[in-house]
Every structure is written in structure tokens, then in C-alpha cells.
Symmetry: C2
Subunit: 309 residues, 2 copies
């Protein structure tokens, strides 16, 4: 039986890494031949979680068609967020919690998207559906993914199901959710050692919105000042990325994990759409998005609407 | 609470009608405000099933945005197979068993596609997941959908799960699967009273394949001769539809429910792609597709591949 690769999106966050590892565990226990891989570097937050639960990171790959005929996508479905050669393999399954776009298959498949805050919340249900017991470290990975995606349950993407799942998983993992969660988030929010390139690429995703090609990068921080002191350098880098990838808009979002507000820097010829989308004024390309922590629920829909008019 | 409309694809078949009715039953029992509707006329096979289990057909609608903000799609996801104004409403859920294409949302949603033979097979599982008892007539509708989509378990799209579900549903519905199934299929395969326009539209679906716009209509018959005697008239009608809808290919497929072979008539400037897709020669635009009964599994993937080269 040929091996099926399981992976999350490019610039992987904790959910993309952990859900790939977790689903590979479930599939392996169900007798399938799979391997979790990743499409980019491990960030500080994910590293904290993997170290805490003593789990090795998945192997990094750049292309997938050279080693597998079938793949399983977790935590994403949009083509441009996936492996560069994704059109050359058969997508056997998708487990996701995002909008569906730029996704197409020639054959029927198992596609499971649920409007919850985290892919791991869906995976936890799948362990139960299959009657497979969840090991301690696997519970820890799923818990980490939920804490990450929900910003410790503060994000509007967080649902009752995510909170319930996290509670049960914390019991299995043997950790205190609040204490573990804040330490993990802080590990990811330490921007001091990061280059501007890292800040812009670490959790960046591309979207097609109407006619516009948009990239949105988000970083968590404890206070936004550590990031904003480097604004000139950031803007220079943004212009470079925009030219390289022919983007209409790059939105760089710094989310304060203590206040749960975000500060955004907009660049590109469609930058003005940000004002319309969020009913704000850009002051030197910058604005505060009060109470905005979720790219998926608070940024992408509003921007898509503004850019589709 | 505003009403959510539930519907299957245009030119609805038995699965599209029954799955809309069935899912509306489940949702209603779960306390939601929904109504099953349909995007086209009821065919003879579906009529037989509805009469047998004494269930009223869903109301026919042409547009949906005028009466609902949210909709649920069953048995389809491709935009061109859905309501004409589908882009004006929010798609809250999709329950389907087809390939995914031409589908896009701005928000996360509940999307459940499984590679089984029939939407009703997925719905049956959902009753179990929610712990809702399946009534006799609801079991009858699901059974009818599975028999229809699987051509009484003869289609390669039919899975073990479909067969198992059908057995359990037949017990609840209180019918003999083979006897009921053959009567129902024959009711749908009676082509004598149908106009050529009806034959071409009754179960027609449009697909984008590579750069080509393709429409495939399928009718069941007991022996194909009753249909083929009207070939000249059919070809004239095909040319008209092709011109009207600017199609590159119209494939008209007549499936013999006794032999489980199909005869196809191809028209349009991409007609030759049929030869490549199925390794056959067209003789006066006509060919026999041995053992081909499934548009989804045997026709669409091969044609998509041939037309995407």
C-alpha cells in the first residue's frame, strides 16, 4: 500500500503541524499507511508545544508528487496555501475548518469541514467516532492547536465545541489549560529574535478576493510596540513582497495576546480597501483593529466583501 | 428564526429530491426552521417513490435569495448545478457525494462530502450520530435514493456502506429491496411518453472540464431502442441546446437498466474527446460504452482528463 502524505498549509501554524501529526496517528491506528509532513518551518509556539509533549516535528517537504500519489490536507483547502505541486496528486481527504475556495477535484473525496475554531476539534470527534483512544501526547497536541487557533478561547472563531474539546483534552494531557496556554502563546509571541522577513512569512496566507490577490500575515505579540519600532523596515519588505508576488494588497497584522486588539499595516494598490472593510482610517498606512484577533472570521470576510464590490 | 431552504441540484433526480426531504426532516426534528424545495420537475422514478411512501413533493422554486438568506445544498456543490442566484445567499451547509468544483464561500461552513454512492447514505449516518429515530417513510425515501443512484447496487459508485444502509433502511421501510427497486427503476425508465426535450433535460448536468463547457444528460431505459429510434430528432435538439448554452460538448447517455451498458450520442465541437476518453470510435456520433452506468465515476473523470490535456 502506497504511503499517503498528510499536511497542513504553508507557513504552518500550530494547528497545521499538530493536526497533521494527530491525523497521522489516527490513520496509523486504523491500519493505513500515512506520514505527517510539513510545508514550512516550525514557529516558536509550535516548538514549545512539541517540546512540552516530547513529540518530533514532521519532516519538511517542498513538493509532494515526487513521493506520493495521494495526499490528505488538514487545516486548509485553498490551492495557493498548499504544496506547490498539489494539482499533480490526488487529494483523498480534507479535514478543515476554513472557507472553501480555489479547491477542485475530478473525483469524489472525503471532505469534512466544520465551522469550529480548530481542525483538532474535528479530529477529536473522529477519534470518538472510530472508537480509538486518545494518548496523552496526542491530547496535548490537539489541546495546543485549539489554544493556538482560539487564542486561549478569546477569538470569535472559538465555539462551544472547541472549549469542551479543550477541557477534555487537557484532562487527558494532564495540564492546566490557562497556565500551559499562556506559556505556549508567549513562546509564539516573542518577536524579539525574529527578522522582519520571518515576521512577514511565519503565518502568512494568500487569498483571491474578487479580482484582487491578497496576502495577510499575522503575528502574535505581548504588546505591539516591539514590532512597530521596525515599521520602516517592515514597509520596505512589504513593497518587495508585493512586487515579487504581484499582490494587490499585503495586510500585516500584529495581534496583542494580552489586550486582544490588533494593529495592521496595509500596503499595495488595494490598501484603501482596508478602510472600507473595517470602517477605519489609515494613518501612515497603519490602523488599529479593535477587538480583531481572527484573520478567518474578522478579516477575510470583510476584506473579501470590500474587494468583491 | 429565518427559514433555511434545503435543495438538491437542477434537473433533480431521486437522490436530490429525497435527500432534501430527508435532511429537512432531520433538521426539523433537531429544532431548526427549514424547508425542502426543488429546482425542477419530479421525474417518473421519483414520483413512483414519493407515491409509494405517500410523501408530498417539495415545492418548486426558481430562485432562492428572494425568500431565504441561508441555504443548505444536498447532492451537489457545483455552482452551475445549483439555483441561478446561489451567489446571493449564504451556503450554510453542504451534504454531498460528488467531486468538488466551482464552489466557493467567504465564510467557514459545514461541508460534508463522502465518497459513497448516494447522499442518503451520509444522511442515514447523520440520523444515527444525532440519535434521531428514522421513520418508515423517511427510510423509504433514503432507500429509494440509494437504489436510484446505485442502479440497484450495479453502479461502480456503489460502496459497501450504501448496500449496508439500504438493507437496514429496507427493513425499516418494510419493502423487498429487489422487487421495490426494479419497479421504481422501471417507472423511471419508461421513455415512451417523454418528449425529446424531456429526455435531454430530465437528468442533465453541466460541467466545466479544462477549458470546455460540457453538458451530460443521462436517461435510464429498458432496452435502448425506444430512445434511439428518435435519433434524428435528438441530434437536432442537441445542436439547439449547444448553440443556446454555448457548449463545447453535449453527451447524451442512454443506460439500459437490464444490461447495465450505455449508448452515447455526442455533439458539439469537442465531440471527438469522447473517443479519447473512452477508447471508442464514434459511428455517426454514436458509441456503446460497455459496462458504463455511472456519469460520476465512469464518465466525468475520463472526459475531464481528456479535455484537460
Amino acid at each position: 500500500m502506497e504511503k499517503t502524505l498528510i499536511f497542513g498549509h504553508k507557513n504552518p501554524d500550530t494547528d497545521s503541524i499538530c493536526s497533521a501529526l494527530v491525523y497521522a496517528d489516527l490513520k496509523t491506528k486504523l491500519g493505513e499507511n500515512v506520514e505527517a509532513v510539513r510545508l514550512g518551518p516550525i514557529n516558536g509556539e509550535t516548538e514549545y508545544a512539541l517540546n512540552y509533549f516530547n513529540v518530533e516535528a514532521p519532516r519538511e517537504v517542498n513538493t509532494v508528487a515526487n513521493e506520493a500519489k495521494k495526499v490528505i490536507l488538514v487545516d486548509h483547502n485553498e490551492r495557493q496555501q498548499s504544496a506547490d505541486d498539489i494539482t499533480e496528486v490526488q487529494i483523498a481527504e480534507v479535514i478543515d475548518h476554513h472557507r472553501i475556495a480555489n479547491f477542485e477535484t475530478s473525483d469524489p473525496l472525503y471532505f469534512r469541514a466544520e465551522p469550529v475554531g480548530c481542525t483538532a476539534t474535528i479530529l477529536k470527534k473522529m477519534y470518538e467516532e472510530h472508537g480509538v483512544e486518545i494518548e496523552q501526547k496526542i491530547a496535548g497536541l490537539m489541546l495546543s492547536a485549539i489554544i493556538s487557533d482560539s487564542l486561549l478561547f478569546k477569538s470569535p472563531t472559538c465555539t462551544e465545541r472547541d472549549i469542551e474539546a479543550a477541557k477534555e483534552l487537557a484532562a487527558i494531557a494532564g495540564v492546566d489549560v490557562e497556565a500551559y496556554g499562556m506559556e505556549m502563546l508567549k513562546a509564539g509571541a516573542d518577536v524579539s529574535g525574529k527578522s522582519v522577513d520571518e515576521l512577514l512569512s511565519q503565518d502568512a496566507k494568500q487569498f483571491q478576493m474578487g479580482q484582487a490577490k491578497v496576502e495577510i500575515a499575522q503575528v502574535n505579540a505581548v504588546g505591539v510596540e516591539d514590532v512597530l519600532v521596525r515599521k520602516a523596515e517592515i514597509e520596505e519588505a512589504l513593497e518587495k513582497v508585493i512586487a515579487e508576488r504581484e499582490l494587490d494588497l499585503f495586510l500585516f497584522v500584529v495581534t496583542d495576546i494580552l489586550t486582544n486588539d490588533s494593529t495592521a499595516i496595509a500596503a499595495g494598490k488595494a490598501a484603501k480597501s482596508v478602510e472600507q472593510a473595517f470602517n477605519v482610517s489609515l494613518d501612515q498606512n497603519q490602523c488599529v483593529l479593535k477587538g480583531v484577533v481572527s484573520r478567518k472570521k474578522q478579516i477575510v470576510p470583510s476584506l473579501t466583501e470590500a474587494l468583491s464590490k
